[in-house]
Amino acid sequence: MTVTDTVTETVVVARELRKVFGDNVVIDGLNLEIRAGEFVALLGRSGSGKSTFLRALGALDGDVEGTLRVPERRAIVFQDPRLLPWQRVLTNVTVGLPATSAVRKQALDALAEVSLADKAKVWPRTLSGGEAQRVALARALVREPELLLLDEPFGALDALTRIRMHGLLQDLCRRHTPAVLLVTHDVDEAILLADRVVVLTAGAISLDVEVEVPKPRRRESAEFAALRRWLLTELGVIDGLQI
């Protein structure tokens, strides 16, 4: 097995996905592939079906028609941290894993990676919003996922905390190299973090573009602004004249 093989390996395959709620077709002929280690941002307006797609990938919703393949090692970070308030931070990180000293050690390492090693023994309710979301990241990373699903993970955080979290997430992804699907409605966040941005419109992919803005990416750069304008237009937020 050579390095190039692993890089081009596909970890998510979705073909002709379809999901219906009553009379409402939420996902309608969705096709998407994600390669190992690739960071994909999924943009879409409210009701475009992006959260439904993520829930299907995360095996939270079973009744989706079509072909769908995901790795067994997956982890989700939800918009709210969803920590068990009656379990200490450390046990929240190890939930669902065997209670061995090796797992405990890995969990402590994961907490150290998100700079919360000193909070291992505290109750989740004493944490700030940003800290709680970092615990949720540690809980996902300790599973060494091949696919990391992020469902608007920074949506509830204040602007300054969000910027810090962006940096942290980039660091973690560089070290652990999972494939990432980030569901967001923040166009800047998508361009800043992703290798590839995908726009979901009415339940199908309407735009699939590699982000070629050179790193480190700055909002002020011309490439950033151009891509931003393009994506916003695709999302129907502004027309070409209004910038």
Binding site: R82, L84, P85, T91, V95, L97, W123, R125, R143
Partner: protein, 285 residues
């Protein structure tokens, strides 16, 4: 601009009736030197004092409303001759058995119905109906079935406790945050781990509310239970006191019931403090 020119100077503003906010805060905190718990006793103390005055001045008939001093003397005598403790230990034993059986039964049923649809279909409607039936209405039936032994007495308390525990624990299990359950499942928690790490701790606050109500219900059920030909117990003492018109003893017994009720609440508060430490940080604000 004229508006800028006509603006008063800073010095003027300090002089014109501004106050130091700290002085305002300090004033409102003056009464805080006596501990809050002691302050709260003011009401009961005033009430007893008023009662004493009204009884001794003859506003109350001393035969039907004896003064507090006589109630205290009666209590002292009942304690000294050992009869109060004797009767009370019998009652406590009944409540103790009723609580143990009732908690086991109520908790067991709540877990079965809470964790399985089938269990809910079998038991829940029955328990709802049992909850709707006044406890006292079951007394004749229990006497017919079990005679006038200890069994119907303990059973009556058991039922009252089981219903309180069941109703509250079942609804607590069903209202555990679905988002947490979903998250735990997505991280690989199996059924066993889900029950002991998510469902049980998540429904513990509801169970403790049930326990608080169950303790209150158990004392109420005890009073009903001891109307069933009890040879001993606080209920028997009450019946005797009524027969012999010992109103002071009636007052002593009412005080005993009050003390036992308050003591039960203290026990639950203690348990809440120990078992729900994770909530303390949250309740603090």
């Amino acid at each position: 601009m004229t508006s800028v020119l006509s603006r008063p100077s800073t010095k003027n503003r300090i002089g014109s009736g501004l106050v130091d906010p700290r002085a305002v805060v300090k004033k409102s905190q003056h009464g805080q030197r006596i501990p809050r718990q002691v302050q709260r006793l003011l009401g009961p103390v005033l009430l007893v004092a008023l009662w004493q005055v009204l009884s001794t001045t003859g506003a109350f008939d001393q035969r039907t409303v004896p003064p507090p001093t006589r109630v205290v003397r009666a209590a002292y005598q009942l304690i000294a001759d050992g009869s109060l403790l004797d009767h009370m230990s019998t009652s406590l034993l009944r409540v103790g058995y009723g609580l143990v059986f009732g908690i086991v039964l109520g908790l067991g049923l709540a877990l079965i119905t809470g964790l399985s649809r089938l269990g809910e279909n079998i038991f829940d409607a029955n328990m709802e109906v049992l909850n709707a039936i006044p406890n006292f209405a079951l007394v004749p039936l229990l006497i017919v079935w079990f005679g006038i032994s200890e069994v119907p007495k303990i059973l009556l308390i058991t039922l009252a406790v089981a219903v309180s525990i069941y109703i509250n624990t079942f609804s607590a299990i069903r209202s555990v945050d679905a988002g947490l359950v979903e998250a735990a499942r997505s991280f690989g928690a199996g059924r066993t781990e889900m029950i002991y790490r998510v469902i049980i701790p998540g429904s513990l606050p509801g169970f403790l509310i049930g326990l608080r109500l169950a303790l209150t219900a158990s004392w109420l059920a005890l009073i009903f239970a001891e109307t069933i030909n009890a040879k001993k117990g606080l209920g028997r003492m009450m019946t005797d006191a009524r027969e012999y018109f010992q109103v002071d003893v009636v007052f002593v017994l009412i005080a005993v019931y009050a003390a036992l009720g308050l003591f039960s609440i203290l026990i639950v508060r203690f348990l809440e403090g120990r078992l729900l430490t994770w909530r303390r940080a949250y309740d603090g604000d």
